[in-house]
Symmetry: C2
Subunit: 150 residues, 2 copies
Amino acid sequence: MTNNMMTIGTLAKIADMHVETIRYYQRRGLVAVPAKPYGGIRRYDETALARLHFIRSAQWLGFSLDEISELLELEDGTHCDEARALAEQKLKDVRQKIASLKQMEFTLDNLVKRCRCSEDPQQCPIIHSLHGKLGLPARRVEHGVQEESQ
Amino acid sequence: MTNNMMTIGTLAKIADMHVETIRYYQRRGLVAVPAKPYGGIRRYDETALARLHFIRSAQWLGFSLDEISELLELEDGTHCDEARALAEQKLKDVRQKIASLKQMEFTLDNLVKRCRCSEDPQQCPIIHSLHGKLGLPARRVEHGVQEESQ
DNA sequence: GTTGAGTCTGTAGTCAGGTACGGAAGTAAG
DNA sequence: CTTACTTCCGTACCTGACTACAGACTCAAC
């Protein structure tokens, strides 16, 4: 079944992905489009499957598809230092995220505990707290929002 | 400056948000649209500002705008148990995320360390590992992707 | 030889959380 | 009174990672 020369549908099944996802990766240049025999159907081999595994592993580590493109350019293994730089940056990002999620956890946990103990249903500590500052950081910087505001 | 009866621009400045963002919240029903004096300009007061603070605090705790809508319906403080349920669910989510980020951290940290020590630049352990399984879980479930695959 | 499933191609839609823009009308300063 | 900035309103666009669908074609089974 995992023989070389399978159709995209078989490839998708083995890789546990939708066909459309593979095509999408092809459009983004992450996966090669094999030559099509005249009036026929494209066939995929093990290297295509390996590519999909690579992509999924990297995604699981938090790399975006753009970053995975970069990684794939280093795939021959001769650019170890660049690959390491990418991984280090990602490690930094991951630690950052963990830190802020822990802050959230702490705050939420406090709220829930205080709420559980509150006897006065008229003043819910959760709702109440949301009106305060909660010690939240400067500004959310996500979705590429720039910091400058004229 | 933080007087009542400010324009949307002033409100935006104080809340450190873009005007467009406030309008967007209005379209989503998160922020009230004050009545417009005939042929005039709408004015906002402290309660609008409080609303924006509420939204931002809740966002910081990881609530989506939809969830914030729900929270806002409980704003009178008489639905403490519902608010607590939402907060508890969110706490669970946050802990889940922390757990999987820690997995990522562990894996990335290992990769980076092994890479640092590798003397053979022909075989970068990072690139190499991405071809293996990395012990990644079943399937990414994000963006509302369903688990079923025909 | 027909049926039904799979493939190919291109384009469009989804979700979240905004951001941008165009044109008309109002407003503040000089 | 003019100039320059805001506001208002609607609509369109953005990112990221897909997902869906239409219409033509190909392929394998019966």
